[in-house]
Point group: C2
Chain length 411, copies 2
């Protein structure tokens, strides 16, 4: 339908060039939000967009909008974006591919001479990672109305520095009220941060939504006892009970295959001594499913199973839910746009649910939204060894370009 193509080499050069801002010895990036390194990459980004003829808007939380004007300036923009901040030992692609891939889209449009109907905007969201100021995705959240500007500005990092002061210090507090910015649709290109596409040999994932997630903390209480003198029948062994509970978490997830996930990542055992029957065991539970009803069912089955283990193990279980993030289904039209764009570019896309949260999950609250995933090596992310190929970056950006052009016609 269109002969416009991404310049893959230029995209890769941008990825490598900006990786210098906060670059680490091991080939990763440490570019925490609102630091000097963040300012450097923002300045670079603003220059690059301006050089393409974009106008830049910055809102009061530092979110950056690069706008390429369309035929009808009264239409709300088709948008795309992601983030340029990283984890403390982050990689070169998480978030960054979505922004610089968007820049490649703008460059392709500009160089082709094609003028879209809508304005096209590329967004760099402030503080997606949440590793300096918690929670993550705070500024797309504020954009979507989940937080107020004041709440965000008053957040403090562990050193006590206020978000608003840090924003001022790098001179990225803009004039526009956060969220006072019409949007027609939103697309985000991102690395998968999981192993599925690579394992199943797909180049493109068409993301149907972000799965729901519930987190719990469980404490099992029993009785310390001498491992050499306490008969099995007289024990209240909390680690043994916790072991059966951990097995129940896996079983409940497997009962909801293939989309249900259940993980016990953290365990602490007391007194944790070789020859003492444990008397207190703490562990966390992480349940996920793209469908909230299924997630609620998983929770119900799990709680029943855990109670039964506690009773037969003669221990007490105290469990509390510490986080409930409902599933976010993306817009079917946008998903189809991504799928069609991928096919047009010659790829068979795999429909996939995002494990991690993304800025797109907040944007989905206020505008038609979808995402494009590309594989990352060994599913590795939040890691300096995070890796993708130039061809994968180019493929993802081409699908993003196609999606923007399709959305320009659909909306």
């Amino acid at each position: 339908m269109s002969n416009i193509r991404i310049d893959g080499r230029a995209l890769w050069a941008d990825l490598m060039e900006t990786a210098r801002f906060g670059g680490t010895e091991k080939g990763g990036i440490k570019r925490l939000t609102l630091t000097e390194e963040d300012r450097q990459v923002r300045d670079w980004f603003a220059s690059a967009c301006t050089a393409l003829g974009c106008t830049m808007t910055v809102d009061r939380l530092g979110n950056m909008f690069a706008r390429l004007e369309g035929q009808d300036p009264t239409l709300p923009p088709i948008t795309m974006g992601s983030h340029l901040d990283t984890q403390p030992t982050g990689g070169k692609f998480d978030g960054i591919l979505g922004v610089l891939g968007g820049l490649a889209v703008l460059r392709a449009l500009r160089e082709s001479g094609h003028v879209t109907r809508h304005p096209i905007e590329l967004i760099n969201w402030t503080n997606e990672e949440g590793s300096r100021f918690s929670p993550p995705m705070m500024c797309s959240g504020a954009f979507a109305g989940a937080f107020t500007e004041e709440e965000v500005l008053d957040k403090r990092d562990r050193a006590g520095e206020r978000f608003g002061d840090a924003l001022d210090a790098i001179a990225y507090r803009g004039e526009q009220q956060c969220g006072d910015h019409p949007v027609a649709a939103y697309f985000e290109l991102h690395i998968e941060q999981g192993p599925i596409l690579e394992a199943e040999d797909y180049v493109i994932g068409s993301v149907t939504g972000v799965q729901g997630m519930r987190w719990y903390e469980a404490t099992v209480t029993g009785r310390d006892a001498h491992a050499g003198s306490t008969p099995m029948t007289m024990r209240a062994d909390t680690l043994s009970a916790a072991a059966s509970m951990i097995a129940a978490v896996s079983r409940v997830a497997q009962d909801h295959a293939p989309l249900g996930l259940g993980t016990v990542g953290l365990i602490e055992n007391r007194p944790n001594s070789h020859n003492v029957v444990p008397g207190e065991t703490f562990f966390t539970i992480d349940l996920r499913h793209p469908d909230d009803a299924a997630l609620a069912e998983m929770e119900k089955s799990l709680l029943t199973a855990l109670d039964s283990v506690a009773e037969s193990g003669k221990v007490t279980l105290s469990i509390r839910q510490i986080w409930d993030a409902p599933a976010v289904p993306f817009d079917r039209r946008c998903i189809d746009i991504v799928t069609d764009s991928a096919k047009e570019a010659g790829y068979t896309p795999r429909e996939i649910v995002s494990g991690p949260g993304h800025d797109a999950a907040y944007m989905a609250r206020i505008t038609p939204t979808a995402m494009i995933f590309v594989p990352c090596r060994d599913g590795l992310s939040h890691n300096e060894a995070e890796s993708i190929t130039e061809a994968e970056a180019e493929a993802g950006a081409n699908v993003l370009l196609g999606a923007i052009l399709r959305a320009d016609r659909v909306f």
Copy 2:
């Protein structure tokens, strides 16, 4: 058969009086071996024995022998004993009851005017606990030929102090070569350190031996992965696998009920983070059984089960045995002597296997040996809250007295 009886009130007074040496605020005792507190209780003990007309011998490792002469000084002595050292947060009865109960036996014999055929000796073993100098039961071990004097004298505590120097510092290095001391039989009174007698409402346990024990360390290796983006089928989750392995440890013990014991007391999980599928899990295994053949069978079943879990969990298991202490069966004549003595004193004794090791386990290598257990509240031991009643102390000492008198006739 005999009208000689223990003075329970005097025994209790001795227990309470000596509890001052190293006494803690919480009612326990901190009396590590070869410390100033140990010297104080040894001095008290030597005085008390001498006052009863005993002669004291101290060997080169500080083991103390209080001898009440019998009719035939050429006969080897019938012996009894235990230890006066404690854990860092020990109780008032572990070990101490065996020594002061023995003192009550000497007092009862002395006051009755009854003169035994054999000499009767009461032994205070050096360093039973092993919490300052490792391993435990080092000096009864040397007495029985398991260690040389030199090995023991050269042991160092965590501060680097040599056993021999610490022994000199409290002036308890004697002349007699350790082990160069004939013995006709050995009896040891001790608290059970487990819950069985109390739960089944017995006052006296007639101990048939010390169970065999094998310790293992297991490391499960898999692959860290993102809890939100890694399908259940693509995980190599080491905590989930370890949970099934822990269940197998309990199951193998239950398959060898009621005497088989299996415990996982210690677990360490990596990276141990809420939303990361664990990639390495370490845990210990403690298997016990009074019968070595049964213990070997337990080990075999367990290893088969663990291999099968590792295979189905797609993880690697590395397991090594770090300790193998064979079972110690006590002398049937001595067990019967204890049982008959208990019945004579009006108790129905329960035959019981000792979970923990004791000096008696080494003595059983060189002389007919048995033990007497009395209950301790809630099975609690190695704890400042360790507790028994005056009546239980008196009952145990009466059975010890009866056993000594019977042994005096049998051997």
